[in-house]
């Protein structure tokens, strides 16, 4: 299942919604806002959602994007869902480490590893 969307590619795998970003760079304020809104809709449409954000297409990030992810994480938790992140490149993972957000998010090296953890 793939939903048409300007910023996100969404598919289902073993009961998990796997989201990939169509933009390589999640920077522009407008895109971040739109991506955030699209993700909120995905979360709202499925209580207890298992959501995996795959960062394989992302090679840049901003503090605004981090803020969007934090807000999303709160929303997922409110709905008793689970959010995991995967395939974050080295430079971007460094941003997560510097901000200590690697402690807030559950980050896996690969989507396969993250999907396996959803089933564990």
């Amino acid at each position: 299942m793939e939903q048409p969307s300007s910023h996100l590619k969404i598919r289902r795998a073993d009961g998990v919604s796997v989201v990939e970003f169509a933009d390589r760079k999640i920077l522009e304020e407008l895109s971040i806002q739109e991506i955030g809104e699209e993700l909120q809709q995905v979360v709202e449409s499925e209580p207890s959602i298992k959501l995996l954000l795959n960062f394989k297409n992302v090679d840049h990030l901003s503090s605004a994007a981090l803020g969007m992810l934090i807000t999303l994480n709160k929303k997922v938790k409110e709905q008793n869902g689970t959010l995991k992140l995967s395939d974050i490149n080295r430079q971007i993972f460094e941003v997560f480490k510097i901000t200590r957000l690697n402690r807030v998010f559950e980050i896996h090296e690969t989507a396969e590893e993250a999907l396996a953890r959803f089933q564990a």
Binding site: L27, E28, E29, L30, H60, L61, S62, S63, A64, L66, G67, M68, I70, T71, N73, K74, Q91, V95, I98, T99, R100, L101, R103, V104
Partner: protein, 152 residues
């Protein structure tokens, strides 16, 4: 204000550009600076940090300093040489006090969605200097591995 003396570039080396207060215009400036970094053979990790810090400075200026007001302007000054990059971003706002932004890496602040821009600038840059009013930020990155002279 003029370039902080410890940043190691002369006023005459700085290129000054004035653009409308929007992120698309700022993006064009960013592309010019990135082209300079490529010309001066900066490594990808260093370029990544400069780009990130510049974007945070610009986003703060456009959104917070100039309040997304399209009638306002951004002033950017920059100099790139093999040893260092200096960038200044100024908005028309009243400024702010960077010291009053809470440390976003403290446990109790980790889940706050905002307040990471300045700490990211400080993390990636060698020096970050605000003017007294707080509407002008100077970024310095010394190049840890200069790749020789810039190509023409």
């Amino acid at each position: 204000m003029s370039v902080p003396s410890e940043f190691g570039v002369r006023e005459s080396e700085l290129v000054e550009l004035v653009v409308p207060n929007d992120l698309q215009s700022a993006k064009k400036l960013e592309d010019r600076i990135l082209a300079e970094l490529a010309r001066c053979r900066y490594e990808p990790d260093v370029t990544f940090g400069i780009k990130l810090a510049f974007e945070e400075a610009v986003t703060n200026a456009v959104k917070h300093g100039n309040n997304n007001d399209a009638s306002k302007q951004l002033v950017v000054r920059y100099a790139v040489n093999p040893e260092r990059t200096v960038i200044m971003v100024r908005d028309e706002g009243r400024g702010f006090s960077p010291a009053r932004i809470p440390d976003p890496t403290r446990d109790e602040n980790l889940e706050r969605p905002r307040g990471r821009g300045i700490m990211l600038m400080r993390a990636y840059m060698t020096r970050v200097h605000f003017n007294q009013a707080g509407n002008e930020v100077w970024l310095l990155k010394t190049n840890p591995r200069p790749g020789g002279p810039c190509s023409s």
